[in-house]
């Protein structure tokens, strides 16, 4: 179902004369990824993940799936990879300001 909708979106849209078309896909290795790889001749993929074991395992599977479908992975972005502590403090609020 999701794959068909994506196929309709990709093939039914007049994209015009593009240099690059970047597709932001949902996580995982589901219908959407499979449909995109089969309907388009993708140049390459950029995987986005976090360092947790569960996320990296999903990323590994995704990279393997894309490779088996002839799509090379150009780069992997590892979000929340590290935190640089520049001042000595006991605790830091790092994401949320309340």
């Amino acid at each position: 179902m999701a794959g068909k909708v994506v196929t309709q979106l990709v093939k039914g849209t007049d994209w015009g004369d593009l240099d690059v078309l970047v597709l932001d896909l949902p996580p995982g290795t589901g219908d959407v990824q499979l449909a995109i790889c089969q309907e388009l001749q993708l140049s390459g993929a950029v995987a986005v993940t976090t360092p947790s074991k569960l996320a990296t395992e999903d990323t590994r599977k995704g990279i393997e799936m894309f490779t088996s479908l002839g799509v090379p992975t150009i780069a992997v972005v590892e979000n929340m990879s590290y935190f640089m502590v520049r001042v000595v403090a006991r605790s830091l609020q790092w994401l949320v300001s309340i």
Partner: protein
């Protein structure tokens, strides 16, 4: 929303709200990530770009002013990561566009090398056959492959299948991500025809293609008269073309 439904909110939980610091250094609070993950041999080493947990990036997201445009001087680590990402991706795309086509695979037909990605496949009208065209920088060739030959091959490797495995394939309904072969369940009549020799005067519907469609950079999906849809890799089609041309 909860309050409008008269549901009292008792507690708010902020995940990853703060970090306990031991001193001024680099912390990996969520682990080492992809650094230690092993990948199959056919996958090139990964270009991993590490984005830090950053209050500056978070503030930029909240304000709607991208950090790559505002470029605050104190965000050197963040900007360096974004710059590395841009360089790796642009270099990778250029390399893929202008690199040696042999990276995507070649096939030799009649002594001439052709790029597998140039392969195109269509059904020959009025015949139970496929027309496979291959192109190179110096020329092109066309090979007509009987549909029965294609149906008798392994969709992934292009090797000829034994009769036992062909019969097993035609009666099964499976979808394997590994081989990317999708075999939809054939109709009962088709299965009966397949499992028994075709009667005199009747065509073997397992070797009649009714549609063929390109599937990304991987191959072509062939829809057969018996209801099966099988995706053949470019390598498998190229191998069949090479085998036919040498006969």
């Amino acid at each position: 929303m909860f309050q409008s439904d008269s549901l009292h909110l008792t507690t708010q939980l902020f995940v990853t709200s703060f970090l306990q610091c031991e001193g001024g250094s680099k912390h990996h609070p969520f682990g080492q990530g992809l650094q230690g993950v092993s990948l199959p041999e056919n996958i090139s080493p990964l270009n991993i770009i590490q984005m830090p947990v950053s209050t500056l990036t978070n503030d930029a997201n909240d304000s709607g002013a991208p950090i790559c445009l505002t470029r605050p001087s104190e965000a050197s680590d963040e900007l360096a990561a974004f710059e590395q990402l841009a360089q790796v991706v642009s270099k990778g795309l250029l390399s893929l566009r202008y690199s040696d086509p042999e990276a995507d695979g070649m096939i030799v037909v009649d002594g001439v090398s052709f790029e597998l990605q140039s392969l195109s496949c269509s059904i020959v009208k009025g015949k139970e056959a496929f027309s496979v065209r291959l192109y190179s920088e110096t020329g092109a060739t066309k090979v007509e492959i009987p549909a029965a030959d294609i149906r008798g091959r392994d969709p992934k490797t292009g090797e000829m299948l034994s009769k036992d495995s062909r019969a097993k394939d035609s009666q099964s309904s499976s979808s394997t991500a590994d081989s990317m072969v999708t075999v939809t369940k054939a109709t009962e009549a088709a299965t009966l025809t397949r499992s028994s020799p075709p009667k005199t005067g009747k065509k073997d519907i397992t070797t009649i293609p009714i549609n063929v469609e390109r599937k990304g950079k991987y191959g072509y999906a062939v829809e057969w008269e018996d209801g099966a849809t099988i995706i053949y890799t470019l390598q498998a089609l190229g191998k069949a073309a090479a085998a036919i041309s040498t006969k």
